[in-house]
């Protein structure tokens, strides 16, 4: 739990009622940062002065009888691929080092309007490409629960910030599992919402048809509140769901009586560690005990998700990252002509993983290969959706491990393909656009947390959170052990 020992909901309630000052809450979190940030490196940039000014504003508003909003005074960390006006936004890449966006991402504005206090921009795998935050150009982030281990990625810094008590909440992005996997590794609740529920305007794009922004929190209720704040139609995002979403917070507490839960067979195979599988079975039992029925759901195409993802995501990324050419912003390596300048800049500015994915994506789209690679992968998405839709005819939510293992040690997955396998269970819902979240449920022999994944149909956040809540209660009453 955070150094302040309070959830976001508790903090906001305290600040709004005048019982606590936002400034005091902030100072506690800044003290935690002071103490451990050098070791953890969750942040690319700590915004201590800005946060203090903002916290003071919140306190002044409360004193004046105004309501700063549902996240009043809550310290929030933002993944450094979210545009913050006038504040460097780097994607943990040299090519954007020092770049100050002239605008705020929609979710940043929404959070600010709700009274949140931003404590810093968190570290990530460069351009969100990775599963360990080891690909950051500014050095890795360490798992606060065991600093020899990775926090996961790509949103490793956001996960670490909450796990270490640097902030009460954080925001990450998830393209293939980049919120859920770090959440599992760090013992947090992490949510990838339905595609289109949260505006992508201001999220620096990696895989446009896959990217979604979501929260990290200690509790399901905190995650629900945060998601309620940041979700909603945005006219600046053409892929934004038009209808106003139902409140998740208000739906909590309903329980899971009669809910039909399906364990995804193909994600319970031997790619998964035994303890992760056990956690899922325990979770299923807990839900049953709470009134749900549990069965098995088969999604054969799920095993092809990785293959499809590692064609689609790099393809879209190769196009999204073309703009980093040294012309309008960011790093420039000068040369005699523009073409050479583009090449020198990109070669010097991008790390190896980014280069790898750009080349892979370029290849998958290139003349003669489009049909076999990118074209085929887009068809697999259709297949996946059909199979999930069929499963959701029989089940309200599905269950699987979040990751094949718990947090691994630094350097353990130096081979790119072994790193990609971390995303086996999380990738399918990025491909389908459905909702998914990771909830901590038990620990391994080394006391590293295990995450269990809940999956729901598009806009099925309410039943998903209700099930998550039931698991949370069960984990608490079991003392956190599976």
């Amino acid at each position: 739990m955070s150094g302040a020992g309070a959830t976001a909901i508790e903090i906001a309630a305290g600040v709004r009622s005048g019982e606590r000052s936002a400034r005091e809450v902030l100072e506690q979190h800044l003290a935690a940062i002071e103490e451990r940030e050098a070791e953890i490196h969750a942040f690319n940039l700590v915004l201590a002065d800005e946060a203090r000014a903002r916290a003071d504003e919140v306190d002044a508003a409360v004193a004046a009888g105004d309501d700063p909003g549902p996240l009043a005074g809550v310290p929030v960390a933002l993944k450094d691929n979210l545009c913050t006006r006038g504040i460097p936004t780097t994607c943990s890449s040299r090519i954007l080092e020092g770049w100050q966006p002239p605008y705020d991402a929609t979710v940043v504005s929404a959070l600010a309007d709700s009274g949140a206090v931003f404590v810093g921009k968190t570290n990530l795998d460069e351009f969100a490409m990775g599963s360990s935050t080891e690909n950051s150009a500014f050095g890795p982030t360490r798992n606060p629960l065991d600093t020899d281990r990775v926090p996961g990625g790509s949103s490793g810094g956001s996960a670490a910030a909450v796990a270490a008590g640097f902030s009460a909440l954080s925001i990450g992005s998830d393209t293939g599992g980049s919120i859920r996997q770090p959440a599992a590794y760090c013992g947090l609740v992490g949510v990838k919402p339905t595609y289109g529920l949260v505006s992508r305007y201001g999220l620096i794009a990696f895989g446009s048809s896959l990217d979604q922004i979501g929260p990290f929190a200690h509790t399901v209720a905190d995650a629900a509140l945060t998601l309620d704040v940041i979700s909603g139609h945005d006219p600046r995002d053409s892929t934004s769901v038009p209808a106003a979403p139902a409140s998740i917070s208000e739906a909590l507490g309903a329980g899971v009586d009669g809910m039909r839960v399906g364990i995804v067979t193909e994600l319970m195979g031997d790619a998964m560690d035994a303890n992760c599988l056990d956690a899922v079975r325990s979770a299923a039992q807990a839900l049953e005990a709470a009134g749900a029925t549990v069965g098995e759901a088969s999604i054969p195409a799920a095993l092809y998700g990785l293959g499809a993802y590692y064609l689609i995501a790099p393809a879209e990324a190769s196009s999204n990252l073309a703009r980093y050419d040294g012309v309008r912003y960011g790093m420039r390596v000068d040369a005699a002509n523009t073409g050479d300048m583009n090449e020198a800049t990109r070669t010097g500015g991008f790390g190896d993983e980014v280069k790898r994915r750009i080349m892979l994506g370029t290849y998958a789209l290139s003349a003669g290969y489009y049909d076999a690679y990118y074209g085929s992968a887009q068809k697999v998405r259709t297949l996946l959706i059909r199979e999930f839709d069929a499963a959701y005819a029989d089940y309200d939510i599905l269950l699987s491990p979040t990751t094949p293992t718990t947090a691994f040690k630094f350097g353990a997955k130096a081979d790119p393909v072994s790193m990609y396998l971390c995303d086996l269970a999380t990738i399918p819902t990025n491909l389908t656009g459905h909702a998914a979240m990771s909830v901590p449920f038990g620990a391994d022999a080394d006391n590293m947390p295990i995450g269990v994944q809940l999956l729901a149909p598009a806009l099925g956040e309410v039943p998903m959170f209700q099930a998550a809540e039931a698991l949370e209660a069960a984990a608490l009453s079991a003392g956190g052990a599976a």
């Binding site: 691929n81 979210l82 545009c83 936004t89 994607c91 954007l96 770049w99 966006p101 002239p102 605008y103 991402a105 992508r200 305007y201 201001g202 999220l203 620096i204 794009a205 446009s208 048809s209 006219p235 600046r236 995002d237 053409s238 892929t239 393809a315 879209e316 190769s318 196009s319 073309a322 703009r323 050419d325 012309v327 309008r328 912003y329 523009t338 073409g339 583009n342 370029t362 789209l365 290139s366 003349a367 489009y370 990118y374």
Partner: protein
């Protein structure tokens, strides 16, 4: 074909093959994917935002009016309007903020249309798709030419402006046809109001794809794309130059290679364009940040219902009323005189007289002349109430100030002189001038003016010279 001698008809034995790609800037208030102003001539980079600058994290949202304009354009060109998907065309160029262009690839909005220029020769149109414009580069140093520049400055005001690219089949075979197509296209664009289509300002840009082939064959040989054509006249010059360049190459046992060339208006020739890198592999894929366009039958019906009369419709209408060919009605329509002509014909004026006046005496347009007055004036002319010179005078007055022709004629003191009166006058003058009459009878044409002059003087210029000549001729006969 080698060693063909250069004859006066320089393309003897060969046929030019021309396809045109015309980019039209749509005259919407805002850009295609963002709310920045779509305005020519603003201070550099003052109409830009995260989206049209392609800043990290930005997203596009489609301007609905741009789509309406594009569909209207498609229907005016008789295209089929289809469901469409935007795609990314990926390549690096500094005037492209995202280093990809958002365009339409295999599912364009408009396909399979045509345009009939007034001089004939239907031009078939393969597609008319929607895409965003790029920024503008200015090359500094080296006389403004790309190849000698020291550096380049870029203004993104134009980046993101909505364009429709209209691609014809390679169905034109001479420069005049191509020019006629472009002129007619421009008239259509102005009529439907989707663009101001100014080549000199770049709101209509014409690129010509030119190749040649032996006359009578249907092969398609290597073509070159010619850019930087800034007027219809330049288009003709560029096509002819390029065709000749290809001919010279073939005659020298050589051949053109496929490239983009740059028309130099001052030098009067095409020059090699920028160096081609690896064959352009644009790696098109559907734009993930946009959702598909699905026009309904109602949408298209509404566009058709609201379509104004196009130049070809107007030519046909006037030709039908005048009992002539559409090409004969072209000048009238071009000058906006067809409503007037139609009205006059409908009011009973003889069509050939109407058309004669419209084509010869109304070069500046109708002005304040109205159909009823026009018809009345022509009736007065054919009835012999006014001479042809008097008619012209009254016409000028009607165009400038409007009014009634009879009133104007009276005010000017114009009266046609009765033919019988003229005859007796002529008789009197002949009696007075027997020598001159004798010379006329002898065949002296020059003395004709003497008699006409006398009669003009006697009638204060109101006699119709033609009638006098006719009277003299018939008197001479018998």
């Amino acid at each position: 074909m080698t060693g063909v001698a250069q004859t006066e008809n320089e393309l003897d034995g060969w046929q030019i093959v021309i396809g045109l790609e015309v980019h039209v800037e749509l005259a919407t208030n805002t850009k295609l994917f963002c709310g920045c102003a779509n305005k020519f001539g603003a201070e550099p980079n003052t109409n830009t935002c995260p989206t049209c600058l392609g800043l990290p994290g930005s997203l596009p949202v489609i301007n609905g009016t741009a789509i309406d304009y594009a569909m209207k354009l498609g229907r005016a060109l008789h295209c089929t309007v289809n469901p469409a998907v935007f795609a990314r065309k990926n390549y690096f160029y500094p005037d492209m903020p995202k280093d990809f262009q958002t365009t339409q690839y295999d599912q364009p909005t408009n396909a399979a249309g045509y345009l009939d220029p007034p001089t004939g020769g239907r031009v078939t149109i393969e597609r008319a798709h929607i895409e965003e414009d790029t920024g503008k580069s200015t090359h500094i140093g080296g006389g403004g030419r790309i190849s000698d520049a020291q550096y380049t400055l870029i203004d993104y005001n134009r980046a993101g402006v909505p364009l429709v690219e209209i691609v014809t089949e390679p169905c034109m075979h001479d420069a005049e046809h191509a020019k006629a197509y472009v002129s007619e296209l421009r008239d259509v664009l102005l009529t439907i109001g989707v663009s101001d289509a100014k080549m000199e300002e770049g709101s209509m840009r014409v690129d010509a794809n030119v190749s040649i082939r032996p006359a009578g064959s249907d092969e398609l040989r290597t073509r070159c794309e010619v850019k930087n054509i800034n007027s219809v006249r330049s288009l003709g010059r560029a096509i002819n130059y390029e065709a000749r360049r290809h001919l010279n190459l073939y005659n020298a046992d050589d051949a053109p290679f496929q490239e983009t060339r740059h028309w130099d208006e001052n030098a009067g020739r095409t020059l090699p364009g920028r160096a081609k890198e690896d064959a352009d592999d644009y790696r098109y894929f559907p734009e993930p940040d946009l959702v598909p366009l699905v026009p309904t039958a109602d949408d298209i019906a509404a566009i058709d219902a609201a379509m104004p009369a196009l130049p070809s419709d107007r030519r046909e209408a006037l030709a039908a009323a005048a009992g002539t060919e559409p090409s004969a009605a072209a000048l009238a329509v071009e000058r906006g005189l067809d409503p007037l002509a139609l009205g006059a014909i409908e009011a009973g004026a003889p069509a050939d007289s109407v058309m004669k006046h419209v084509n010869n005496n109304l070069a500046d347009g109708p002005g304040k002349l109205e159909a009823a007055a026009f018809a009345k004036l022509i009736t007065m002319e054919t009835g012999g109430d006014l001479t042809s010179n008097q008619v012209k005078d009254v016409l000028v007055e009607l165009v400038d100030n409007g009014g009634d022709p009879a009133d104007i004629a009276a005010a000017k003191g114009f009266e046609a002189v009765d033919t019988g009166e003229l005859e007796s006058m002529l008789g009197a003058i002949i009696a007075e001038s027997p020598d001159e009459w004798a010379r006329y009878l002898d065949g002296d044409k020059k003395v004709q003016g003497f008699f006409v002059g006398k009669i003009m003087k006697a009638t204060q210029g109101q006699a119709d010279g033609k009638v006098v000549n006719q009277l003299m001729a018939s008197k001479a006969k018998g």
